[in-house]
């Protein structure tokens, strides 16, 4: 992996975790939804380069359990 790509991935990982943390504190549904989309896209960006963290983004609800953490309404 080139130094440039390694740096890009490091930044993407930081953005991903920052977005997850920020969404956890967000009370406005509209903004939480924006962050939910960002988190999905960042997870996918990592997946498409083979450096994903888990099968799905953090915050996906469990079966039969409501979970407003993803920002969907």
């Amino acid at each position: 992996m080139s130094a440039v790509k390694a740096e890009q991935i490091t930044k993407l990982e930081l953005l991903y975790h920052e977005a997850v943390e920020l969404r956890a504190t967000m009370e406005t549904p509209a903004i939480a939804r924006c962050l939910g989309i960002v988190i999905e896209n960042l997870h996918w960006a990592l997946w498409l380069q083979g450096v994903e963290e888990g099968f799905v983004p953090l915050g996906l609800s469990e079966p039969n359990l409501p979970n407003p953490g993803t920002g969907r309404s």
């Binding site: 939910g36 989309i37 999905e40 896209n41 997870h43 996918w44 997946w47 498409l48 380069q49 083979g50 994903e52 888990g54 099968f55 799905v56 983004p57 996906l60 609800s61 469990e62 079966p63 039969n64 359990l65 409501p66 979970n67 407003p68 993803t70 969907r72």
Partner: protein
Amino acid sequence: MASAESSHWNLWAETLNREALDALHMRRLKLVLEYAYARSAFYKEYWQRVGFHPDSIQNLEDFKTRVPLTDKSDFLQFQEDFPPYGKTLAVGEFDVAHHAETSGSTGIPLRIPFTDYDTERYGESWVYGWWALGIRPTDSFYFAFNWGNYAGFWSAYWGVRRLGAKVYSGGGQTTEDHVRNILRLKPTVLLSTPSFALRILEAAQNLGIDLSTSSIQYTYHAGEPGPCSLSSVRRKLDAGFGAISGELLGIAEVDAVAPGCRIRQGVHMSEMSNFSWSMGADGQEVAEGTIGENVVTTYANSAQPLINYRTHDLVRAFNLPVCGCGCTWRYLDGVVLGRSDYMITVKGTNVYPSAVENLISDVSGVSPHFQLILSRRGAFDDLLIRFEPDLQVPRDKWEGVGAEVIRRIKEVVGVRLGAEVAEPGSLPRTELKAKRIVDLRGDEFRRELDRQQGGQP
């Protein structure tokens, strides 16, 4: 800097060597197994019942041989018992963002839940094929498709959004309206089933309009055998629209699993979103290039995971592609060659109607409008081919075309079938999948291969 001049949508991913792809799959398959075991009551109960645990998988060979197979019938049963999705749902209802259904062409429609993220990943698989053909974010897509519950072209819509191109909806229009809309809106890409694209060409011809001079530069198809499967369909679409036609193999409940190869003799499995292997009738993996059933595990459906899922599509697959296009992803030569659950025996010979379908379309003088009529004659299945000749074939030559169809099938399949000529325009046209196979047999005569194999629950 992102560039429309890039040769690939994702160069790194599309040119990984087999060793690297397999290592990536191994890591991801373990993630999927752990995810399904932790979240899906269906998988947990099924695997516990047959004595399987995800921890027992150390390599791809383990995965292929130890992970129990799944089949559409498992999911259909659970959905019927506990609607809408049964115990197969791996997320809360809250996170189901889109509900789709299969077309039901082989029975009861299957309900398919998608999370928002699933739709993004599903759409991505289309883009690889479009990009390989030359389609770019500056293009505009006309959807000759009514926006029902059918998953296929919804996923293409997600793909266009992913590509960043423009969408023109053709929902709720007549065939003639589609022709006029193409002239009025000037899209550069037409999306439809191949048979409906041919119907649009017929409608244009009746209106005295030549679509080969229209704005359409590409046509792209799914839902039935298209330009990468059938050379006659490719020739007609290319000539009729004055464009380049392409094809994607999609499996509604799984993913847009295999976007078209740019050489247009087959498709490549979308390996960022799926792992697949070919299984013989004995349940074992078949050798490279040998026809077997495509068994798929998708990374694109987290709402209803599909693991070691039997597609019943018979494919000739190459993990080291032989097409020469440069993409390293698993190559399906000729796309789908037949269906493992749709084999009939005619005069003692096993015949796959889909394979006959492929053969007929290659006979000169046969139009893309034909039917295979399956019936029961005494103790044996029988198959009659009913076809419309091409419009330019004079009536006195029709019999000769029929004889050539019979000869060609006898030569390749080894059995003499009947052929019947139908008047041009007399066979049914549809917007979705062309109903080419008409099965008049009772249910008791329909065979399914080894349904009991592989530890079905």
